[in-house]
Amino acid sequence: MLKAHLFFSLIVFSLSSKSQSVVAKNTSYFDKNGKLTYVESAFYFRQNTDTLDYYRSFYSDTKNKYFEGSIINNNDTMDYNNKYKGICKWYYSNGILKVQSEYNNVGVLNGLKNEFNTEGKLIKSSVYENGKLKDKKFTEFNSNGRGINVFKEEFADNSSNWYLNSDAVRSSKIRIGGLELMNKEKNDFALFINYKIDSLNFSIETNINSNYLSLDTKAGFVFNYKDGNNFNYFFISKNRVHIGYKKTE
């Protein structure tokens, strides 16, 4: 009986020591840019866990958590090039959650992404679908926790349904680098965005490439536009600004 018990214990010990070797922690060291480096120069280090593809990283100096989540293309030399899966979290060196993002099984953002400041307050919240910002909108939060709805059009596609057309006099095209508008006539050719402003407190901004502008060209935006006789405008030409409004009502 004693022999049998000893034999059983040996089996259990050998199995448990074997399983310990399977989950032994591999540690990789990375610099601030996520490139593999030496222990001495590491900004953070990464360890695998008992769960397949699930990793935890820690700051080298404070040993506080840097990251936790699943990495599906684990590559020791390029941590910055990782593809993530499920809910992943990044932390500030003081241990406060910095970013929490949700990824799909092929490693692109899909779901909620929340960003926090070093005090743990939510500063930005966005929803992604297959790697793209849903409806090109997200919410920022100011220091009082009040929300600001943001629409950001980078002209990477025409999912906002801009009126794209081309004829001899006027054209509107989405190109690499932005939205190109052309109007050979001395009148305003406007492309309106399908986005409604509900608040009296708002801001609008855009970037204009002045390389294209001539001295006689005016480009910019109209806002509070009701019709061709009632709107506000902010245009620039090569070196001049044109600010004003049209109002007949």
Binding site: G177, F189, I197, N201
Partner: protein, 293 residues
Amino acid sequence: MNFDDRFSEHLKGFDWNNIKIACSHDSVVYIINNKIIMINKMENLFGEKIGLTINNGMVMFDNLVIKQSQDQVVDADLLAKKFCYYNDEKYPLKAILSGVLLGEQGYVLSCFKNIDISSKFIVSAYVNDTLKRFFAEIYLKNDFENSVVFKIINPQNYKFQKTIFAYQYLKSVESEKDYIYYYLKKNEVNNDFESIAVNGDLKYDSPHDHNVEELKYYGHSCIGAPVFDKSGNILGLIENVNESSKIKIRNMQSVMQILFSHPEVYKAQKTLSTDYSEFNQKIHKNLVIIEVM
């Protein structure tokens, strides 16, 4: 109807320019490349559409960003800075400049590119030991020399500080090589004004301090600040400052051209050269701040 149609030094001729408006209920702030260029009353409150436009040419737009608050002001910190107050009246603030008093009658000399004559001006000038604020009007201006003389509106007939500097025709920044320019800076802790003196040479690289808030929203308020030699002779005015604090000085000889034809102004500043020790102690009382609205 136009509010404004003018040259802007904030525009980059061959690069991307960021143009922005920030609106709050009844007012709108116009911004180019993070510099406020105008604040005005909001019109057409009931229009809702936003459009990108082109007139007579071609253009490329990128990054259209629209923000709207869920329940309060967007860019609250920006909009909080946009007004200045005088006698409990609220005025939109476009710029802050420096200048120098030209005598007890309240003439103020400054340097000002493309001055908008429809603007209102508040000048803060010393009366005895107190900095007081007054409305001022443009008395003379010369767009070619970018120079302007304001006359302080002074119904109480306050006597302003005597000028303690002098002007000598043969002296210039180039002839003296070393110079000092002075301007008033708001202390961010106690809101008092302190006189800043900055030494310069012919390299014109001149790092200098400003109130952080002023710098952020209105640029270098030392534009218009007087430049002196070490004997208290005025050599010129700061005409421009670029982002790396490299200064451009408008020589006094050219500025004087607009003063010569107006003896009431010219005489006001024509004093003898003073003792430098006294000059250094008292020059701050000849300095002014000009708020442009």
